[in-house]
Amino acid sequence: MKNKILEMHNITKTFPGVRALDNVNLYVEEGEIHFIVGENGAGKSTLMKVLSGIYPSGSYSGDIVFQNHTKHFQNIKDSVDCGIIIINQELALFPDLSIYENIFVGHENGKSFVNWDETRRLAKYYLDMVGLKVDIYQLVGSLGVGKQQLIEIAKALSQNVKLLILDEPTAALNESDSENLLKLLVSLKSKGITSIMISHKLREVQKIADSLTVIRDGKVITRLTKDQINEQEIIRNMVGREIEDIFPKRPKYIDGPVVFQTVHLNAFSKEINRYVVNDSNISIRKGEVVGVAGLMGAGRTELAHTIFGNLDNYKLTGSVIVYDQKVNLKSPQDAIKHGIAYVSEDRKRDGLILAEDIGQNITITALQKISNMGFLNFINQAQHTEKYVKDLNIKTPTILQKVKNLSGGNQQKVQVGKWLFSEPKILILDEPTRGIDVGAKYEIYTIINQLVASGMSILLISSELPEIMGMCDRVYVIAEGVQTAEFKIEDATPEKILEKATL
C-alpha cells in the first residue's frame, strides 16, 4: 500500500439549520488522482473549504492529517504553506494584471523589492510546465477560461504544490480544453503531484481517476479504486435512489396554445462587446415546462435577463410576444406587469434580501396587494406569508425569521413564493435547485408540477441534464448565445444535448 498523503477523520461541519458534513472520513494516497463526486449540495465544496482552511480549524470537528501530521489550518495561507492548493470554480485571478504578475501575486519574488527579471524567467518556466504557449506580458483578462485555468495551475506549481485541488475545473471548459486539462493532470501525476478533483463528469472520472470518494448529503457513501470504477456503480451511490424517486411523476404534456415567444431576439452586451443572446426563437405553451440547457457561460442567464427586461448593459433587437401581443419589456417592472416572473440563479446575490424576514421578501414583488394608499397592511402581509409558508412547506419557526437564517432549500422556496405572489403566467426558473439538498429538490419539482397543472408556463434553465430530462416537456440547447437545437423530451438524450451544447 502506498503512503497516505492526506487523511480526513470524522469531519463534521454544521451551518445554522444544516449539517453540511456528517462524520466524513476520506483519504488520498500519494501521487494519485482522486475524484470526489456527488450531487450539487452534497458537501463536496464544503469539505474542500475545510481542507484548505477557508473554514478555520475549530469551526468544524474532526482531524486533518497531512503527510502524517495533524494540521490546524487557520486560514488559506496555512494550507498553501503546506503545499495544499485549491483552485476554485471562480478563478482568483486579476484580469488587469499580466500573466507573470498573476502567477506571483501573494508570493512575490524578492524580500522587499520585487526581482522582476527572475519573476519573468520563472513565469516562463511554469507556463512551459503546464504547456501554455502565450506571451507572459499578456493581460489575463484577455485569455479564455481554459487558459486562465492553466495559469491558476502554473501559479499553484510556483507555490510548490504537493496536493492540488480542483473544484469542477471543466465545468466551464469546452471539449478540447477539458481534454488538455486532463492530460496535464496526468503529466503532473508523473511529476509526483497528487490531485483531488471535484467533478460531475463521469467520463472524466473513468478516464483518469485512480480512486474516488462518493459523497451524498454530507456523508461519505463509498470509496472506489480504479478497477472498481464504473458508471452505474457511481450513479447508484451518488443518487442513492432510482431516478423515479428524484423526479415526481408528471403526466405527458398535451399541446396547448403558445403563450410566450421570442422572435429573432438579440442582446448585445456593451460590456463584453459581443452578442450574449444571438437570434433566439423560443416559444412556450400554456402549462408546459420548457428547458434551456447549455454549459456555463453559454448565455442561459443572459437570455433570462433579456426576457425579463433587466437590460442595463444590453442593446436589444427583435421582439417578445406574450399572449399574442408584442410587448416592449424595458425593465423588470414591465415584465412583471405582463405576467413574467424570474427566480434568479444566485438567490443570495440577486434574489433575496437576506437581512429581512420571510414576509418582507415574499411581498416585495407586489406590494400593491398588501397596501392601501401607500400604507402597508401588516395583517394582510402575515396572512399571505402564512399561506406561502404552508403551501410551499417552508420550514421556519416563525414567519418573522430573517431569510439569512433559513437553509438553502427553504431560501429557494421563499424565492419561489416571492414570485408566485406576483401571480405570474410565465415563470422563469434559473437553476432552481442549485445548492439545495435532494429532499428540497423533490419539493421544488413537485411545486413545478403543481404550477403547470394549474396552467402556468415554465422556462427551466438548468446545467443539470438529469433535471432537464426529468422535468421538461421540451428543451432548447444554447451554446455561446446561439440556439443550437430544440428537442422534444422523448427525442432527447443527455449525449445529444451535450453534443449540441459544446459547439
Binding site: D63, T70, D350, I353, A355, L367, S371, T398, K418, S422
Partner: protein, 471 residues
C-alpha cells in the same frame, strides 16, 4: 424536577432578554451611563429642567439631519454635502426674509424648490450616471460652502423676524418658569395613553397572527419603564418652559419618518434597495428612482435643519455648516445603521444624536477641557461601531431553559467533561513516553466534540422544552 423560583425566573428572563437583544438595548444603556455620569459630575444640573430643555433644543438640528442620513446610509450611499447645504439654505431663507423682505412662506417655498432640485441632481448623478456618492457629495460640500459665503456676503446676519424667534427660541405656550406647564404635562399623559393602547393592540394582533409575543412579565416591565421615561421627560420640560418649537418639529419629523419607513410601500422599497440592490431591481423596484427620492428627502431635511439652526442661534453666518454632516453620520452609526445597507432605524439615529449632543453638552457643563471633547466623541463613535460588529451574531439565550437544562443534563455533562480530561491526560502521557500520538489526538478531539455538543445543548435549551418535566 422542581419548579424555578418565580423571582429568579423573572430576573433570568429579563437578563436573557437583554443578552439576546443586546444590539437593540446597547445604545440605551450607553445613554443611561452618559446621563448618570454627567448627572453626578455636574451635581444634578445636567438632568435638571433647564439643561435638559437646552440639551433637546441643541440636539434638534442634528437629529433632523440624522433622520435623513439614516435613509441615505440604508441605501448604501453617503451625503457629505448636507452640512453646508443646510447652512446655505438657512442663510438663503434668512437673507430673503431679513434683507430682501420676502414673506417667510415664500422664502421657505423657494428654499424647498432649490433643495428638491439639488437633491434630484445629486440622486441623478449617483443613480443614473453612477458617480460614487462620496465624490458627488464631496463636490457638493465645496459648492454649497461657496453658495453660503456668497449668500451671506461673508457677514453674520442676525434674525429679527418673529418667525425665527418663535421657531428658534419660542415655546408652545408662554408660562412662568417654576410653575407646572399644564399643556406640556397633558401632552405627556396623552403620549402615555397612546403607548398603552398601541402596545396592547399590537400584542393582541400578534397573538392572533401566531407571531410570538413577550411573556407578560417582560411586557409589563417594558411598559412601566417606557411610561416612567415619558413621565420624567414631560415633568422635566413642564416645570421649565414647556415644549419648544424646535423639539416639536423634531418630534414631528421623527414620527413622520418612522411611519414612512415602517408603514409605507415606499419605505419598504427603500430598505429593499439597501438590503440587496440587485434583488430589488429584479423584483421590479425602480432602484434609481428610489435613490433619487432618498436624496431629495435628505435635501428637504437639510432645509428644515438649516432654518432651525439659524433660528436657534438667531443669525446666519458663513461659519455655519462644518461638521453637521459628520455629526449626522456619526449619529446614524451610533444608532446602529449598518454601513452594508438595508438596516437602520430612524428613531435609533435620533437617540444616537442625543448621545452625541449629551456628550458635548455634558462635557461643557462639567468643565471638561474643550480640547478633549472631539477625542471623546471620536472614541464613542468607534466604540459604538465596534460594539455593533461584536454583537452582530449574538445568539438568543433562554437562561430559564439553561437553568433547567443544567439540572437535567448534569450527569451527562460531568461524564463528557471527565472523558475529555481523561483523553487529554492520556495524550500528554503518550507524548512523554514518545509514543505515536495520532490515535490519542483523535481521542481528544472526539471527546472534546462530545463535550462541546453537550455544552451547546444546554446553552440552547428553551424553557418550553421542560414543561412536562417540571412539577
Amino acid at each position: 424536577m422542581k419548579k424555578i423560583n418565580p423571582i429568579l425566573k423573572y430576573v433570568l428572563t429579563l437578563i436573557s432578554l437583554f443578552r439576546s437583544n443586546i444590539r437593540d438595548y446597547g445604545m440605551y444603556i450607553a445613554l443611561a451611563v452618559i446621563f448618570i455620569t454627567f448627572q453626578v459630575m455636574t451635581q444634578g444640573v445636567f438632568l435638571g429642567p433647564i439643561n435638559f430643555t437646552n440639551l433637546l433644543n441643541q440636539t434638534a438640528y442634528v437629529a433632523v439631519l440624522a433622520v435623513g442620513m439614516t435613509l441615505v446610509i440604508v441605501t448604501r450611499q453617503i451625503d457629505l454635502s448636507v452640512g453646508y447645504l443646510g447652512a446655505f439654505l438657512g442663510a438663503y431663507v434668512v437673507v430673503a426674509v431679513e434683507n430682501q423682505n420676502w414673506p417667510v412662506v415664500i422664502a421657505l417655498l423657494v428654499g424647498l424648490l432649490i433643495t428638491i432640485a439639488v437633491g434630484f441632481i445629486k440622486g441623478f448623478l449617483i443613480a443614473k450616471i453612477k458617480v460614487p456618492s462620496f465624490v458627488v457629495t464631496l463636490a457638493g460640500m465645496f459648492i454649497f460652502k461657496g453658495f453660503l459665503m456668497n449668500r451671506t456676503n461673508n457677514r453674520t446676519i442676525s434674525t429679527s423676524n418673529e418667525f425665527f424667534n418663535k421657531l428658534g427660541i419660542g415655546y408652545l405656550t408662554d408660562n412662568i418658569v417654576g410653575q407646572l406647564n399644564l399643556l406640556t404635562f397633558s401632552i405627556g399623559v396623552v403620549v402615555i395613553l397612546f403607548i398603552l393602547i398601541f402596545s396592547i393592540q399590537k400584542r393582541i394582533k400578534n397573538t392572533k397572527l401566531n407571531i410570538p409575543v413577550e411573556i407578560p412579565e417582560v411586557f409589563l416591565t417594558k411598559l412601566v419603564f417606557l411610561i416612567v421615561m415619558v413621565l420624567f421627560i414631560a415633568y422635566n420640560l413642564a416645570i421649565y418652559r414647556g415644549i419648544s418649537w424646535l423639539l416639536m418639529i423634531t418630534v414631528a419629523v421623527v414620527v413622520i419618518y418612522h411611519i414612512f419607513t415602517t408603514q409605507t410601500v415606499l419605505g419598504r422599497r427603500i430598505y429593499a434597495v439597501g438590503g440587496n440592490p440587485e434583488a430589488a431591481e429584479l423584483s421590479g423596484i425602480n432602484v434609481k428612482a428610489i435613490i433619487i427620492i432618498v436624496f431629495i428627502s435628505m435635501g428637504i431635511l437639510s432645509l428644515i435643519s438649516g432654518v432651525m439652526y439659524a433660528s436657534y442661534v438667531q443669525n446666519t453666518s458663513p461659519n455655519h455648516g462644518p461638521f453637521w454632516e459628520l455629526y449626522a453620520i456619526a449619529a446614524a452609526y451610533i444608532g446602529g445603521t449598518s454601513a452594508n445597507g438595508g438596516v437602520g432605524k430612524v428613531v435609533n439615529a435620533v437617540i444616537g444624536s442625543v448621545v452625541m449632543m449629551s456628550l458635548k453638552n455634558g462635557m461643557a457643563l462639567s468643565g471638561v477641557n474643550a480640547n478633549i471633547e472631539p477625542i471623546v466623541l471620536g472614541t464613542v463613535l468607534l466604540l459604538a461601531v465596534i460594539f455593533d460588529i461584536y454583537t452582530r451574531n449574538v445568539r438568543t439565550i433562554d437562561l430559564v431553559g439553561v437553568y433547567y437544562a443544567n439540572k437535567h443534563h448534569h450527569q451527562e455533562l460531568m461524564e463528557a467533561k471527565g472523558n475529555y480530561a481523561q483523553a487529554k491526560t492520556a495524550l500528554s502521557n503518550a507524548k512523554k513516553d514518545g509514543k505515536n500520538t495520532l490515535e490519542y489526538e483523535y481521542a481528544v478531539t472526539s471527546a472534546q466534540g462530545i463535550y462541546n455538543r453537550v455544552k451547546e445543548k444546554i446553552r440552547n435549551a428553551k424553557h418550553e422544552d421542560f414543561q412536562g418535566l417540571v412539577r
